[in-house]
Symmetry: C3
Subunit: 135 residues, 3 copies
């Protein structure tokens, strides 16, 4: 049955990478979607979604280091609340991802996890999770 | 009813960030989609789609400044028409976004707008807008 | 009829940009989707999907040059298998794309191709291709 859910997440740090894969797989089961798609959407401007490696303890540090390096000096930017870097990083990873659902589960690779990327925490965040079943 | 629309936009500058949220919400109403998804797609190679902050007058300038800084010297690149930076920026933000539709409206956050990102204007641009309703 | 396919691709180089558009259009025909959407998904952490220009012989070189430049020195990063740059580049282009299907074909622009982006080859890769037809 087509369904739209909301995951609520309290982040703890300014920049944080939170694995939400287990919760999304649980919602796939709850929705009883056997075959179809799952669209994930973050309704925030300073957080995003990334699908990446799930077993490397250095991954989050490396991502935030890389983003900081490509953005250069925060003093170059003029956005009103001094949080442009969070807008930039959210824009680079994106706020929307769509994944096939197969045999009742998201068709992720063995090494993939879905991450909520917090770029301006700590905050209370939402991730919308939409399932569309085959006809 | 599932429907596919085209928004036509004449851009005015070489790099420009145009808010198309109102038009997409109007199409959601026109399509009579109550609950489902909306896929936006830009059929161009030097423009993209970004979902970001909707009330910061410095946002566009900061985004174009950041992209320019991360790309480095345009002279490093060899693409045929000297517009590689437009290909790069379109690749970084992407040409496709999918957003849940709930109660007849796109489930955007309060601070989110959908932007057509022009990276090689001025040109006449299209955005395809596809609605898929729940079964 | 809604359908989920897998394209198998053997990459040959460490970084490579492979045009899969023809194969995806062939699957659209095979699925008999007339009007709907196509979701592409890469179930890997060191490869991605990019929709970009289809007739510029310098494009791949320019993309890999740009990514190398924005990432800075690989020695800055600590991921376990020394392949963080592949995770970063996959995260920047993304592993998922959704494209409208119209009159039995993907609604790509005349200059657009769909590329599998290999960032850590050579490897055997999969691309999942999901079609959802209008009701």
């Amino acid at each position: 049955m087509d369904a739209l859910y909301t995951i609520y997440i309290q982040t703890a740090e300014q920049m944080q990478m939170l694995d939400i894969t287990g919760e999304v797989q649980r919602l796939a089961a709850d929705s009883q979607t056997v075959s179809g798609i799952c669209t994930l959407f973050v309704p925030h401007t300073t957080a995003g979604l990334l699908i990446s490696e799930n077993r490397d303890p250095y991954l989050a540090g490396d991502f935030f280091r890389a983003f900081g390096q490509l953005a250069g000096d925060a003093g170059n930017y003029r956005s009103l609340e001094n949080n442009f870097l969070a807008f930039l990083f959210a824009g680079l990873v994106g706020v929307s991802q769509t994944i096939p659902v197969e045999n009742g589960r998201l068709a992720l690779g063995a090494w993939q996890s879905i991450y909520l990327m917090e770029f301006d925490g700590d905050r209370r965040r939402k991730v919308r999770v939409k399932f569309m079943e085959d006809k």
